[in-house]
């Protein structure tokens, strides 16, 4: 570092003279979220260079080493204890995600084209076009300002896809929210927290206003209400994109121009990456206000159009988004293999007097960083002018292996890329103790009628129509299975599908979350989420051998061995299920420290939460399958075995039962069941199909019938199930790998042959002369309910909150 640095208008941080306590105090006061071992590593690095770091260098390292950017928990060495077994885990990601994916990919080498190395992973659609999906969390900002948090959450993930390959075209978005109970009393929520209903309304509007204005359909999602999220809501936003296969690979080489495209830079979102790597405290709302922003979808739409046109014209060598950590992260990552120089004076600013570290770390939205050759600069500038967005050369790539940053002609940062991108590995301890079986409290099943009505009106089962209707799911004109369908346009889809122009194929997207399972059995929660996400896209018509997965984990404090133990079990379960279904992972993200520290020292963590998203390929449009019964006198068939698995399910939660078992997964038959179902779909034998999940057979049957205009009659006696199951078990068990489907009588022979040796049953038929849900048990009618009456509480369950 030249002597001139010392005279620069920035701060030098004298860490070489600091003791451990001072270093920790520095980390706290500057909100660096660095642990003592990191700080000592940094001190040692600068000791070897013979100087103290500048504020820009220290802030850049903190952002780059943050949990948000480097996933240090998933890369940590973990000593995991479960009962008496102690297992060393050499990185959760490496062991349970990357290795499993590589093993699966060996059996289908042409399916996954890119995974874990770009903004999003890609799967092959037809040899010419590839599809990607990315899901991000934006929990901490959404807890403090729900509208802005969700707004910028979606904006950020759209830019992730835009920065995947040389610029994928965003074609669909998804969202999932975990919030506290909407009817929670105000007194039960601390004064400094936003009420769950305020969070829900805010995040829905945030996604709506960004997605709709960008012209990207929001086609799928999930909402979970659970008191465990009252203080720390979770907001997942995802976007799918499409890109020509030969545009996936991108490369940085020396002498490229580093170009900043899009919005101006201000003091927005400073410390966003480190903020999301820390827990919320009762001071957070005012203390972290700079980490919260409101997005500008119009600006991003212009940016997106410009990037897509520039990619089409071959003007982009490299592209990435400006997300958490701002330029420090985007430019830092871009030059990590080569080295590069950034000149902060050239960055267009929204406001004056920004300190150099503020310019470098600002998380102002709607910006992308590109690597562009000299000969393409003028063409890119012309495009930017045409699309009314700003295009500025802010630096160049080099071959020095160092990240150099200049401000007012003075070097304010000079870090070796190798050091910057080699955050020390953490070592953690985790412990899982299976929850002691709860005392079995069974509600006498005297009134199935009342139980079904209560369950259908429960906020976790009721129709999501009031939320879905706020989103434009039609824009771009390719949504072929919409989130709502059926006779009245209010029947919920399992997987939703978008046609991919020019490919002849469609993409099916499904999302699954079951946090209540995780409280009892996190391993089975991991399995169930994978099974449900896959089931959703298979039901929509996707080929079960062409499905890729995404994992998004959220939890409280990973430094607490018991909390981390639950996460480890969940990852193990998820990984095992992915192996069973031979479904590779292409992308993922994790979010930690979703815990709330109150002024009286109480810490409240969320339950360990996993969102699995499935991206499947529907090979022909005739395979697309919707969820509403289509005709009278069809046969109603049930695929899969029903076990007594109501543990932590809707029936238990709503009716106050305990002691049930969480649904597991049959490793020998699960994939075969879906493959056989797909064979039936290809033969044209399936008229409609619905997966069995929350509320089991009873809820799935009611939902399929609500939109048909007719009735349905089934006999539980015919259901393939474990011996001696009660009617309540058969109706409300949430066993995995089950699909309810409608078929014509004439196809039954073929279907039965297809499922030979597998659990399959014909349980009833659709009815034209009445519109009731009739359930028999060995010919005795145990339920006979007009569907119109059942539908009302289900349809209005969420309406009162919007």
């Amino acid at each position: 570092m030249p002597e001139s640095v010392l005279a620069a208008p920035y701060e030098t941080i004298p860490i070489l003279d600091m003791a451990e306590a001072d270093l920790e105090s520095l980390s706290r006061s500057r909100k660096l979220s660095l642990g003592i071992s990191d700080l000592l590593e940094i001190k040692s690095y600068f000791k070897s260079t013979g100087r103290n770091p500048t504020c820009v260098e220290l802030e850049t390292i903190a952002q780059t080493w943050s949990e948000h950017c480097k996933h240090r928990i998933f890369n940590a060495r973990i000593v995991h204890r479960s009962n008496r077994d102690v297992t060393p885990i050499d990185g959760l990601f490496e062991t349970f995600i990357r290795n499993v994916t590589e093993e699966i990919n060996r059996d289908k080498p042409d399916f996954v084209l890119s995974a874990f190395r770009d903004n999003a992973g890609f799967i092959n659609l037809n040899g010419r076009l590839a599809a990607c999906l990315k899901v991000e969390t934006h929990n901490h900002p959404s807890a403090i300002e729900p509208y802005g948090g969700a707004n910028t959450g979606l904006g950020g993930v759209i830019r992730d896809v835009l920065g995947a390959g040389k610029g994928a075209k965003p074609v669909a978005s998804i969202d999932a929210f975990c919030v506290g109970m909407p009817a929670a009393s105000r007194e039960s929520i601390p004064a400094d927290r936003i009420h769950p209903l305020g969070v829900l309304r805010g995040v829905v509007r945030g996604v709506r206003d960004y997605g709709n204005r960008m012209g990207i359909p929001t086609i799928a999602g999930a909402i979970v209400f659970d008191s465990g999220y009252a203080l720390n809501p979770l907001v997942f936003c995802g976007t799918a994109g499409v890109l020509p296969v030969d545009e996936i690979l991108k490369e940085v080489r020396p002498e490229l121009n580093i170009v900043l495209l899009g919005g101006r830079t201000g003091r927005d979102g400073l410390h966003g990456a480190t903020f999301s790597s820390a827990s919320l405290t009762s001071e957070s709302p005012t203390d972290d206000r700079r980490a919260v922003q409101i997005g500008n979808p119009i600006e991003e739409k212009k940016l997106m159009d410009c990037v897509l046109k520039a990619r089409e014209r071959g003007l982009i060598d490299f592209i990435t988004d400006c997300g958490a950590g701002g330029l420090s992260s985007a430019a830092g990552e871009m030059v990590s293999e080569t080295g590069g120089r950034v000149y902060l004076d050239r960055v267009p600013l929204k406001e004056e007097n920004l300190a150099c570290w503020e310019i470098f770390l600002s998380e102002s939205q709607e910006r992308m960083v590109l690597g562009v050759r000299d000969e393409h600069l003028d063409a890119l500038r012309n495009l930017a002018e045409m699309y009314d967005t700003e295009c500025t050369v802010i630096g160049e790539t080099t071959d020095t292996g160092s990240l150099e940053v200049f401000h007012q002609d003075i070097k304010v940062c000079d870090l070796e890329c190798e050091f910057l991108h080699s955050a020390p590995r953490r070592t953690l301890r985790s412990e899982y103790r299976p929850r002691a079986a709860a005392a079995s409290i069974l509600v006498p099943p005297t009134d199935l009628r009342a139980a079904l009505r209560t369950i259908l009106s429960d906020v976790n089962v009721a129709s999501r129509e009031p939320v879905i209707r706020q989103y434009d799911h039609e824009v771009q004109g390719n949504t072929v299975i919409k989130p709502l369908g059926g006779l009245n346009g209010d029947n919920p889809a399992d997987g939703t599908c978008i046609r991919v122009d020019g490919s002849g194929k469609s993409l099916a997207i499904g999302v699954a979350l079951s946090p209540s399972y995780g409280v009892l059995d996190p391993y089975r929660m991991g399995q169930s989420c994978v099974d449900e996400a896959i089931r959703q896209v298979v039901v929509a018509g996707a080929n079960p051998d062409l499905i890729a997965l995404l994992d998004n984990f959220c939890m409280g404090n990973p430094d607490d061995p018991e909390e981390l133990g639950a996460l480890v079990e969940c990852v193990r379960g998820m990984s095992a299920a992915a192996q069973i279904f031979k479904a590779p992972f292409i992308s993922g993200k994790d979010s930690f420290y979703n815990c709330y520290e109150s002024t009286d020292g109480r810490t409240v963590s969320i339950p360990v939460t996993l969102l699995v998203s499935a991206l499947g390929v529907v090979e022909e449009k005739r395979h697309l399958t919707t969820t509403a019964f289509r005709r009278a006198n069809s046969m109603v068939c049930l695929l899969g075995t029903t076990h007594s698995e109501r543990g932590a399910g809707v029936y238990e939660r709503v009716l106050g039962e305990t002691g049930g078992v969480v649904p597991g997964l049959d490793p020998d038959r699960a994939l075969e069941l879906y493959r056989c179902f797909y064979r039936c779909v290809r033969e044209g034998w399936v008229r409609s199909a619905h997966d069995l999940s929350d509320g089991g057979l009873a809820v799935a049957l009611a939902e399929m019938a609500f939109a048909s205009g007719g009735g349905v009659e089934i006999d539980l006696h015919n259901v393939s199930c474990d011996p001696a199951l009660s009617s309540v078990d058969i109706l409300f068990s949430e066993s995995n790998s089950r699909i309810l489907f409608e078929s014509d009588v004439e196809h039954l022979g073929g279907i039965a042959r297809c499922f030979d040796g597998l659990p399959f049953s014909i349980i009833g038929r659709t009815i034209g002369h009445h519109s009731n849900l009739v359930v028999r048990a060995a010919k005795e009618v145990i339920l006979n309910e007009p569907l119109k009456e059942l539908k009302l509480p289900w349809k209005n369950g969420l309406q009162r909150y919007f």
Partner: protein, 163 residues
């Protein structure tokens, strides 16, 4: 120069203020929402009126009240909610962009603030107003001020979230 215009929707009646909160209020007050534009401009005041009428108002269903002071009847509180400086207000940005592009004759708009005004009608208790403010305003991005009716203690008539 600065001018304030309040835009009132003629078709929007007072409705239950429970819509503004997350659990029902004790005194079941009613509310009505209007919006106020606080405009910093130079040029003709008639030109500004013309701009507000033509661009910011739907004259079929809305009417304009000039000077922007609360037009509340007796016993009605007026709560103003507005974004803090530096928080992106897209509506404001695009109004300014439109005004700069359209260049109305004899008028230059330098800046504006958009205020959401909530008239909260009697019966309203002070505790309920506090609840409404608590549930409606997010102090991270918003400020607020309130003009309380004379039926409530005058000493508490007004405030800001960060005061």
């Amino acid at each position: 120069m600065r001018s304030r215009f309040e835009i009132v929707n003629r078709l929007m009646n007072f409705v239950s203020a429970n819509e503004l909160v997350y659990s029902p209020l004790d005194s079941a007050p009613l509310y009505r929402r209007t919006r106020v534009y606080d405009i910093d401009y130079s040029g003709s005041s008639e030109g500004l009126r013309h701009f507000v009428r033509g661009v910011l108002t739907d004259e079929i269903v809305e009417e304009i009240m000039e000077d922007g002071r609360p037009t509340a009847a007796e016993g009605t509180a007026a709560l103003d909610v507005f974004l803090k400086p530096g928080v992106l207000d897209l509506e404001k940005e695009y109004i300014l962009r439109y005004a700069n592009g359209a260049r109305p004759a004899n008028l230059e708009i330098h800046d504006l603030a958009i205020i959401q005004r909530y008239y909260i009608q009697h019966p309203c208790e002070e505790a309920d107003i506090r609840r409404i403010v608590g549930d409606l305003v997010n102090p991270v991005i918003q400020d607020w001020s309130i003009c309380l009716p004379p039926c409530l203690p005058a000493g508490r008539a007004g405030g800001r979230s960060d005061a």
